[in-house]
Symmetry: C2
Subunit: 194 residues, 2 copies
């Protein structure tokens, strides 16, 4: 294979979840059937890496100094929802059930991967949570081992600072039949019954 | 999400096998953890789309007028192996069992997808196969319905032109146990026994 083609396959392999076979298939597809798509992708990558940075208030991706959500005066500044990624933030937004503000960790605590409090901007979060306006912090990290640990660490630290800290409710998912729900979920739903 | 980020996700979705969730995950990964990789990928795409074209003899991807394999004087010009893609060519090369030349269709006949003889360069193939030097054409298209149909069409046309046409042998894969081999494969291996 030509060097240029090899370089393209190697570059595509850096994408998460893409091995050498997928990368070769992608390179073949782009060069044989969609050169316009390849050009578009090159431009989009170039623009995103130069323009996209982190919101100085909530750490999510934005092009300006402060993201649109943080700028929106309609938002309830007394409630701060902590999520792991912009995708999680989008999921919460789609519910339409939350009109407060966000803090996006852009990751989760993961000592085994060397990701500590500094990498997920906890100092910034604590600063923002204790600005005198925020009254409640809603922990909406994932319900995985690492997400739970991250929520625990943040929760303890914020409670010490006298803030009201809540966590998304655990329970039986909407539309599901008890027979097929795992035991841990049913046990949590029993404890948190209302 | 910002427009630049949306554009990146949309561009990544044009890659084969990538849906909106994978594309979002890729964009997040590149911007949060691997901006250098994103820059590299942008450059590689740019260079590949401007530099890579088709070999004028065998149609595979190359940067020059003629690819390295077609230029190699050590290759046996009397044998021409027809494959669907550069990846298939690489698979045949890795065996070390073929020292002839190749013709890469860059696809396969697929009437349902509107891919006809012109799209896979059959006129060029017939021209090359009947240059007076080629004595045997080995059909190494895939053993799928479309690959078989493509081999059939090419084979019939070349036989009419008086060429020797062979097809890769079908049979039991090396290292496999008969118990687990599908019936069609065993039936072919019986017919083609030697």
């Amino acid at each position: 294979m030509s060097n240029t083609l090899n370089a393209l396959v190697e570059a595509l392999r850096r994408l998460p979840g893409v091995g050498v076979k997928s990368a070769s298939r992608m390179a073949f597809h782009l060069l044989q059937h969609d050169r316009e798509g390849a050009q578009l992708l090159a431009q989009a990558l170039q623009q995103a890496t130069t323009r996209v940075r982190h919101c100085s208030l909530c750490h999510t991706f934005t092009e300006g100094e402060v993201c649109a959500t943080c700028q929106d005066p309609q938002r309830d500044a007394t409630k701060l929802c902590v999520v792991e990624t912009p995708a999680d933030q989008a999921a919460v937004e789609r519910t339409g059930a939350f009109r407060g503000r966000y803090f996006v960790l852009m990751g989760k605590l993961s000592p085994l991967d060397g990701i500590g409090p500094r990498d997920i901007g906890l100092a910034k979060l604590f600063e923002r949570a204790t600005d005198g306006v925020v009254q409640e912090v809603i922990l909406a990290t994932n319900f995985t081992a690492e997400g739970e640990a991250t929520a625990h660490v943040i929760g303890e630290a914020l409670k010490q600072r006298g803030l009201r800290v809540t966590r998304l409710a655990r329970g039986v998912p909407a539309g599901s039949e008890l027979e097929y729900v795992d035991l841990g979920t049913i046990a949590h739903a029993l404890v948190d019954r209302r």
